[in-house]
Every structure is written in C-alpha cells, then in structure tokens.
C-alpha cells in the first residue's frame, strides 16, 4: 500500500460545477500538505499549501485537511475549462524532509 493514495481519474465534470479532489494517507506524522496543478506537457506548479489541519481558501480553491481521518481535499468552485489539468497532492512530515506524492487526478472540465 502506498503512503499516499489518490484516484487517477479521469474526473469529468461540466463547467460551473463544484469539483472535489481527494487524497488519503497512512503516515500520521505528515504535517505539511500541498496541492500541485500540472497542465499537459508542463511541470507541476504549487496551487495550495496547508500546515496541519484546517481549511485554506484562495479564490475559487479551498484546501481542507482532516488529520483524524488522514484525508485531504481540494475543492474548486465555479469550475472552468482552464482548470482542466492533473492535480497532485503532496505531503511531508516537516521541512527538510522529502515530499511524498500522490499519483495525480486528471480533471476534465467540459464547456
């Protein structure tokens, strides 16, 4: 079993829908949680960063961490075709430690 599990999708939703992307993990020591977005034929770019539990909001994006359930989510409101990409979760036990990556979920927003 991998340390970080993420459904590879693809997840296809109509434009304007709310999207929920999720990762589960097994290491309770993880403290730092990130979401990266990767467009086709590009490198991943940081989208959201959360330390420990709780929610963080940035525009249409909300990152949520539930450490008791070892579950993190990324919500996208009012989804746009430009949100079509692969979303990778990544997490770490602390600074100076490696990021552990999910497999990535391919998201398709249909106009």
């Amino acid at each position: 079993q991998k340390e970080v599990e993420q459904d590879p999708g693809p997840l296809s939703v109509p434009e304007g829908a709310i999207v929920s992307l999720n990762c589960t993990y097994s290491n309770s020591a993880f403290q730092y949680f990130m979401w990266y977005r990767q467009y086709s034929r590009k490198g991943p770019e940081l989208l959201m960063y959360t330390y420990s539990s709780g929610n963080k909001e940035d525009g249409r994006f909300t990152a949520q961490v539930d450490k008791s359930s070892k579950y993190i989510s990324l919500f996208i409101r009012d989804s746009q075709p430009s949100d079509s990409a692969t979303y990778l979760c990544a997490m770490s036990v602390g600074s100076n430690y490696q990021l552990i990556w999910g497999a990535g979920t391919k998201l398709i927003i249909k106009p």
């Binding site: 730092y32 990130m34 034929r41 590009k42 490198g43 991943p44 770019e45 940081l46 960063y49 990778l88 770490s92 600074s95 100076n96 490696q98 990021l99 990556w101 999910g102 497999a103 990535g104």
Partner: protein, 113 residues
C-alpha cells in the same frame, strides 16, 4: 520572472547512448530535486541536493544514473548507458531549505529507442 530552466526539452536517443540533462535552479535556491514521471509510476524522486551536497539518491539506479551539482547554478543528471525503460519526463525542481514548496522546471522529455 524567476523560474527553473531545463535543457534539452526533448531528447531522442538510441539504447546504449549517454544522456545528459541539465537544470538551472532559481537563483538563491539551495535545494534541488530530480524527478522522473511516467504514466505507470507517477512522480518518482531520483535525487535530492541541499547546498550542492547529495542528500538522497536512493531512488536512482546507481549502475547507470548519476547526479551532480558542479556549482550552485547547475545540476546535471546523466544516464549511461540509456535503456528504453528510461523513457520518461525528467523534472528538476528547486526550493529553499526549511521551506516545503518546490518549484518545477518544464521537464526533459526523453525517448530511448
């Protein structure tokens, strides 16, 4: 606009040939990571440097892969000899010690025939 640069962007080579990939981290960044991405395995960490010193290269096949940082502005990843199973996209990322964020380059797309 600070960004990680990688060369070449694309490389097609024949099995057995040497491949060298280069990365210029963001100026001032003191951590460098080499990743390999494939459809089957996703993103795999190959090597990790901090202040130019290799900290972890356990993800790298030692018999054919080598990673170095000759100076703070250049990181290299070499494959010798290359094999078809090495075909993948190789990403370099850089960051700062005590910060978790990694900034990725555009990748080198390698095809070994």
């Amino acid at each position: 606009d600070a960004r990680v640069t990688q060369t070449p962007r694309h490389k097609v080579t024949e099995m057995g040939q040497e491949v060298t990939m280069r990365c210029q981290p963001i100026l001032g960044h003191n951590t460098v990571f080499w990743y390999r991405q494939t459809m089957m395995q996703g993103l795999e960490l190959l090597a990790y440097f901090r202040n130019r010193a290799p900290l972890d290269d356990s993800g790298m096949p030692k018999d054919r892969f080598s990673a170095e940082m000759p100076d703070a502005t250049l990181a290299t990843l070499k494959i010798q000899p290359s094999e078809p199973r090495d075909s993948a996209v190789y990403f370099c990322a850089s960051g700062l010690v005590n910060e978790e964020t990694q900034y990725f380059g555009p990748g080198t797309r390698l095809l070994v025939l």
